[in-house]
Symmetry: C2
Subunit: 191 residues, 2 copies
């Protein structure tokens, strides 16, 4: 998606350890209009899947998941990383490593909002190793829901996430695929 | 706002300790369409303030702040509760008590995204005691920004937040004002 790639090229910052900082338009400050366009594009790509719910993880997944849900006319559920007191005692919980936090985090969903037989579209900000998304997949499967598609704003192809998701046999779409950040330069694939 | 009040009346659950659970449409599962309508209504009410940025706190403030920003054509900044490694060492940080977590939480904003002279519209999910919103006000003031308006989806008038914000002398708008949850019944004011 041209608009997103241009924005990453202009405002993304490569930090150490393969970290791409997009805090000025995705992760701390959010460009609402860009997120809306990304949601529209996800909705277009996933329109034929018959999804009944969009699933993401707090915090950075919320903005693109919300705009995607808006354009698909679906509700969105975001997995919590700490269990609020409003959540029942019995929950779906899994652990996933967080790249930017440098530790394992919990991903928690209440059984109230993910039902057996639902068709789930997962949307997140990054597809890197795929660890967070695989955590969401485990939660959805625990609930008896079916994953029908996975979308990420930004994929770092060199971290292997797409291969890790391949066994699911479902469409995986990213709006900007970064093939290299070597030498301080961001290179995208041809899409 | 009629649509929001009706939804609260239908799906809100009163838990102990004055907690209103709205996890099925605001705080865990999000009704994207309802959030969009709420954002549109905030944009209408605050259209004349000349805001340059929408400010909120992660996590539950993100959805209504994003849709408001979308309808106003503004970026949104969400204060983080933990400092990610992408954030510079020098930040604006304040503490605020969290009602649903039962402890103090940090609210952190990078100076990169809140500049001197900006006109800030604060949007959050709840206005209860006003503690979180006052935390955001302190952060904005530390950055030399000016608060021009405050909006909350749901106000619990009996927790005194509006009085706590009165000294700011700016418009405070809520889309659903709850005057009582006594006896397991939710009562709204006339607006």
């Amino acid at each position: 998606m041209k608009e997103l790639k241009e924005r990453i090229q202009r405002d993304g910052q490569i930090l150490g350890n393969g970290i791409l900082k997009v805090d000025s338009f995705v992760n701390h400050q959010v460009d609402a209009s860009l997120m809306d366009h990304c949601g529209q594009e996800f909705a277009r790509r996933f329109a034929q899947l018959g999804a009944t719910k969009v699933l993401t993880a707090e915090i950075s997944g919320i903005a693109p998941a919300l705009t995607t849900a808006l354009h698909l006319g679906l509700p969105v559920v975001y997995a919590r990383k700490t269990k609020p007191i409003t959540m029942p005692d019995q929950v779906y919980l899994t652990l996933a490593p967080s790249h930017t936090k440098g530790r394992m985090v919990e991903l928690i969903i209440s059984p109230e909002y993910l039902a057996h037989g639902e068709k789930v579209l997962i949307i997140d900000d990054f597809l890197a190793t795929g660890a967070t998304i695989l955590g969401l997949v485990r939660l959805a499967e625990a609930a008896g829901a079916k994953i029908v598609g996975i979308g990420a704003l930004i994929e770092k192809t060199f971290e292997g996430g797409r291969a890790a998701l391949q066994a699911l046999g479902i469409p995986v779409e990213s709006l900007a695929s970064i093939t290299s950040m070597d030498g301080g330069k961001i290179a995208f694939d041809g899409n």
